[in-house]
């Protein structure tokens, strides 16, 4: 893409997101979005960011991490802390208040950056020693890490401890959620089609051969891990400051990590569009099945589990496998020009 076209597409994306955001908040004429649907759509966006970022390490690099909720917690609490304790000052520097859309957007930027950086640092500290481990061992270390984070947060009164960070100021909106989701998709896609992506795929495929090709496997695994953690931190920062959705250590336990793993497994591990499909499906599905609960309380989760089991029996590679869904997919499939990556 030429630089000019790139600028145009970025501008169009931002404008479209801003317009949709306006509709979300103020409606369009007589049309208002049902707050319940709005909430689900926002959660889809956050889950897309989580799933696509986890896909970088679990799917593309083939390392099995089950501590994504831990990075989400680190990023989420850091970002929310910054807004709660310094947000007002930051907004005042620009002569704005935290309650108006411009002021909250100005605060959102440092807040998300802080969340991403904190999660990236956590990723680095966990990644450097643990990524020498393989398979189950890495899974256990990452699980342990996320539980440690959770327990630490439980014991910090300034962020609410066990009651959750209820002081959080709801400055997250549709615009930021989907901007970050798109950004995450673009970053992982660009990594995937570069020499770095090929290095990660090589590691996933055969670590010994990858080393023989001159790929510093540990370094690349740590790199993928740090980027993945930073993006999870962004997702945490978004979800913690979403209206009526405070961060709570209870919701950031390992069940949350597993949820994200299920999303990428369902969509097709290693596929970015698969992660998007998985995140969307698994956010909508439990809500869509709610009507079952009215007749038989609890039936919802039984059906949910059954659907997952059936999918894994009949399509163990996930909905998309390692393929990517895009407009030229059909053409490419026939042409076989060697340009299809993972």
């Amino acid at each position: 893409m030429s630089p000019a076209r790139k600028v145009v597409s970025i501008a169009v994306t931002l404008a479209a997101l801003a317009a949709l955001n306006y509709i979300f908040e103020y409606g369009f004429g007589d049309f208002y979005i049902n707050p319940y649907y709005a909430r689900i759509i926002n959660l889809i966006g956050i889950n897309i960011t989580l799933a696509v970022s986890l896909n970088l390490i679990n799917g593309m690099a083939g390392q099995f991490s089950i501590g994504h909720a831990g990075f989400m917690a680190v990023g989420g609490y850091t970002a929310t802390y910054l807004t709660v304790y310094h947000g007002r000052q930051i907004a005042e520097i620009f002569g704005r208040s935290l309650t108006d859309p411009v002021g909250s957007s100005i605060v959102m930027i440092p807040s998300l950056i802080a969340g991403a950086l904190a999660a990236a640092v956590a990723g680095l500290f966990v990644g450097i020693p643990s990524l020498r481990l393989k398979g189950d061992y890495l899974a256990i270390v990452t699980l342990g890490f996320s539980e440690i984070i959770r327990v630490i947060i439980l014991n910090i009164p300034a962020v609410g401890g066990a009651t959750g960070f209820t002081d959080a100021i709801p400055i997250t909106n549709f615009f930021w959620i989907f901007l970050m989701a798109i950004l995450t998709i673009v970053i992982t896609r660009n990594i995937g089609t570069s020499t770095f992506g090929r290095a990660l795929f090589a590691i996933r495929s055969d670590e010994i051969a990858a080393e023989a090709m001159g790929i510093d496997t540990t370094r690349y695994k740590v790199m993928a891990f740090v980027i993945s953690a930073a993006l999870a931190g962004v997702a945490g920062g978004l979800s913690g400051q979403l209206f009526a959705n405070p961060l709570n250590p209870q919701n950031l336990n390992f069940v949350r990590s597993i949820e994200v793993i299920v999303m990428i497994v369902l969509g097709g591990i290693g596929s970015i569009t698969g992660a998007v499909v998985g995140a969307t499906t698994l956010t909508i599905l439990p809500e869509a099945l709610r009507s079952f609960d009215q007749q038989f309380p609890g039936l919802r989760m039984v059906i949910y589990a059954l659907l997952l089991i059936l999918l894994m029996i009949f399509r163990p590679q996930g909905l998309l496998g390692r393929r990517e869904l895009n407009l030229s997919w059909l053409r490419r499939r026939q042409r076989k020009d060697g340009s299809v990556l993972a």
């Binding site: 660009n190 090929r198 795929f201 010994i208 080393e211 090709m213 020009d337």
Partner: protein
């Protein structure tokens, strides 16, 4: 001229077992050097020591003037020594082209930020990498299957692809671990020609570890024979063929 690869008194012990004992090697620049020996002689161990998979218990390995006995495999590849594997190790979920493009990784000048932002440098380099990879595949007659899955190729083509992939790292020294393993005589002959041609065309040094005597005798200029981890003979193919120690090692002592 100094040898491109020099091995001095290398010993490799696994517990009480010395798989390689006091080995010395000097591979001249531009040579086709064969390392042979009967089953269990320690050939693959030597190979793994040279490529950094194992660190030798004792001794020195000098590659192009740099000590590499404590270096990791990727560092050794970076210095310019590429290898193939006895049991082919292609990247199974990549295409033929991507396998070769991956190996070009070492020579990449772009940084991660280039890739993420999608800078001009990134696009230019990706196109270059693809172009070079295709050229390399053409040399090996694999350009027409560039888009196929690497593991869908027939065995002989997979071997050639592995060599092409190793060459994509732009090595000074190419280490081939039993390249003729699993090949029929016809394929072996073609492979021998190919190996010699690669040496001349790319102007590099080739070290060959081989079980198949015919392959080694056919192309190598210097042959070193080891048995039970120790050198038993070194010389030209003609000298090796008539060496009683070698005959005894291969056919068994009377």
């Amino acid at each position: 001229m100094t040898p491109v690869l020099e091995v001095r008194n290398v010993t490799m012990r696994f517990g009480g077992l010395a798989a390689v004992k006091n080995l010395n090697m000097a591979v001249p620049r531009g040579a086709l050097y064969g390392l042979i020996g009967p089953n269990g002689a320690g050939k693959t161990t030597v190979f793994n020591v040279l490529t950094g998979v194992y660190y030798p218990t004792e001794g020195e390995i000098c590659f192009d003037g740099i000590n590499v006995e404590k270096k990791k495999p990727y560092e050794i590849t970076k210095l310019g020594a590429a290898r193939t594997f006895q049991n082919i190790r292609l990247f199974a979920d990549m295409t033929v082209l991507e396998n070769v493009m991956t190996a070009h990784h070492l020579r990449a000048r772009q940084v991660l930020a280039d890739a993420i932002v999608g800078t001009g440098r990134h696009h230019v380099e990706e196109a270059e990498t693809r172009h070079r990879a295709l050229e390399l595949l053409k040399i090996f007659g694999l350009d027409r299957v560039a888009g196929e899955a690497a593991t869908a190729l027939p065995y002989g083509s997979q071997r050639r692809l592995e060599i092409a992939r190793a060459l994509a790292t732009e090595p000074k020294l190419l280490l081939l671990d039993e390249p003729a393993a699993g090949m029929n005589p016809q394929e072996s002959v073609e492979l021998m020609r190919l190996i010699r041609w690669i040496r001349d065309e790319f102007k590099l040094t080739i070290l060959l570890v081989e079980h198949n005597m015919k392959v080694v005798m056919g192309i190598c200029e210097v042959i070193q024979v080891i048995d039970y981890g120790e050198e038993i003979a070194i010389g030209t193919p003609a000298e090796i063929q008539s060496n009683p120690k070698v005959i005894e090692a291969y056919l068994g002592g009377g």
